[in-house]
Amino acid sequence: MSDISWGLWQLLLKGVWITVQLTVYSAALGAVTAFVIGLARTHRRWLVRFLSGAYFEIFRGTSALILMFWMFFVLPVGFGWQLAPMWAAVLTLGLTYGAYGSEVVRGAVAAVAPAQREAGIALGFSPAQQLWKIVLPQAWPEMVPPCTNLLIELLKGTALVSILGVGDIAFGASLVRNATTQSAPVYTVILVMYFVLAFVLTRGMRAVERQAKAGIGRPPAKRASLFRRAGGGRPATAVPGAGAGATGRGEPR
């Protein structure tokens, strides 16, 4: 590793910053898309449901990589304007992961007991008030864990953009590798970099989840560990299903 110069390492660090930016912008666009499309898919007018459902199917069913090429190479031909590689990437990732997220939003909204809306009707709330005051606050804590998964996938998905020449971590890595012909140290280092970024995201989202649960009067979920740390003289009792509010997090579906 020692024969890779400081200048080349700097290239990688710059890449980290680009990756973080890509993730943040795409996540913001993705979150907006997820809420708009997800709520539209529960709308009472069939046309709204149909259009948003079509959006979901199309973006879920197309390859993000090809879509990115399409945004970058086909849009200029068809519409006469050229997106910067960075924004073609953000648009692609945001719209694609927004489509996945819409499924999370739709599912969480549908999981709120219909009786809650009925109580809202009985108290005279308008449909919009029922949504904002009753349904979404209850659906939100359910959305956070699956959204964490999506966010991690989005982070790792940003590596696609190196193909368009955006200088993210993966792009920096290929430059360094070309310059030094040393694959092993470079790729090991960037593996760790992605992991550290993902870990920071997970921790942040855990805090969001805790806050969301507290906001609806649920205790912050303690995760059941199979092996309690010994000490304190307490027997190692691992209660399966403790912290039930956190089930499903990170588990394959």
Partner: protein, 285 residues
């Protein structure tokens, strides 16, 4: 509470001994006329007819209890009143307005969301499963609708909420989440929440059926208190026959989507005319 005078020659619901004077300024029902009218209301679920051309009238200030075997359509009536269901045929009037329909260009059409919301503003409902909002503390459960639907100032709404919590005996719990309360306490909060909207009629849908037996009495006491001390109209579905006997001006016996018999509780519970009523009462009493 808005009060309504009762007509002396009420054909549907017998008079209670001289009701309180009307204080409702100029509402359509201020003359003490009927508050609720079902006109040939039919409701089907698939091939099953739950309500069969039901005619029913309830006058202001009356306490009406609906009894009958499960599946006889009692709860459906309350859900129709709350516009949680739409009738397949017939009309429902409330407070002089169509609840299920609205007039557009001289024709009656099914009511839109906006119209229903305006008419049902005077209808409150307490559910079997309480349906408190778990994302709000007790106080906010009660103040949310008065503030955001009626446009009450927050202070005024909170004052009203505190009074109501006092009425249901839960002043100590206003800073808790519903999940921290027992079923009986949750149901009493739900009653306070419904009353905070000052409805003309309160629909009670088997409000003690989901409670542990030892918690039932507390909730029923609160309701007895409300029935005695206010002039709110009550429309009540219950299996608590003693409670029905205590609070009702009129008991309606339902079977197979029709009212087969109605009258003052003394009559229904001691000398029912209809064979089905006798069978039902001997099974539940």
């Amino acid at each position: 509470m808005p009060a309504d005078r009762t007509t002396p020659n009420d054909t549907t619901v017998p008079d209670a001994p001289d009701d309180t004077a009307a204080t409702d300024p100029g509402g359509p029902a201020a003359d003490g006329a009927e508050l609720i009218r079902f006109d040939k209301v039919t409701k089907r679920f698939g091939a099953h007819t739950v309500l069969d051309a039901l005619d029913m009238t309830v006058h202001s200030g009356k306490h009406v209890t609906l009894i009958g075997p499960s599946g006889s359509g009692k709860t459906t009536i309350l859900r129709l009143m709350m516009t949680l269901l739409k009738p397949d045929e017939g009309t429902i009037m409330f407070n002089g307005d169509y609840l299920t329909h609205e007039e557009k260009g001289g024709r009656l059409v099914p009511a839109g969301e906006r119209h229903s919301r305006a008419v049902r503003r005077n209808i409150g409902m307490v559910f079997q499963q309480f349906n408190l909002f778990p994302n709000m503390k007790v106080l906010r459960n009660i103040t949310e609708a008065p503030v955001h639907v009626l446009g009450l100032a927050k202070d005024a709404a909170e004052e009203r909420a505190r009074e109501l919590l006092d009425l249901v005996g839960l002043t100590d719990h206003l800073d808790k989440y519903p999940g921290q309360l027992s079923g009986g306490q949750q149901q009493r909060v739900a009653i306070a929440r419904a009353l905070a909207m000052r409805p003309k009629v309160l629909l009670l849908d088997e409000v003690t059926s989901a409670l542990d037996p030892e918690l039932v009495a507390g909730v029923l006491d609160v309701l007895r208190d409300i029935a005695r001390s206010t002039d709110i109209t009550l429309l009540c579905v219950t299996h608590e026959m003693n409670f029905a006997r205590d609070i009702s001006d009129c008991v309606m016996m339902f079977d197979a989507g029709r009212v087969i018999e109605f009258g003052p509780p003394e009559q229904i519970f001691t000398a029912p005319e209809h064979e089905r009523t006798r069978e039902f009462l001997s099974a539940v009493l």
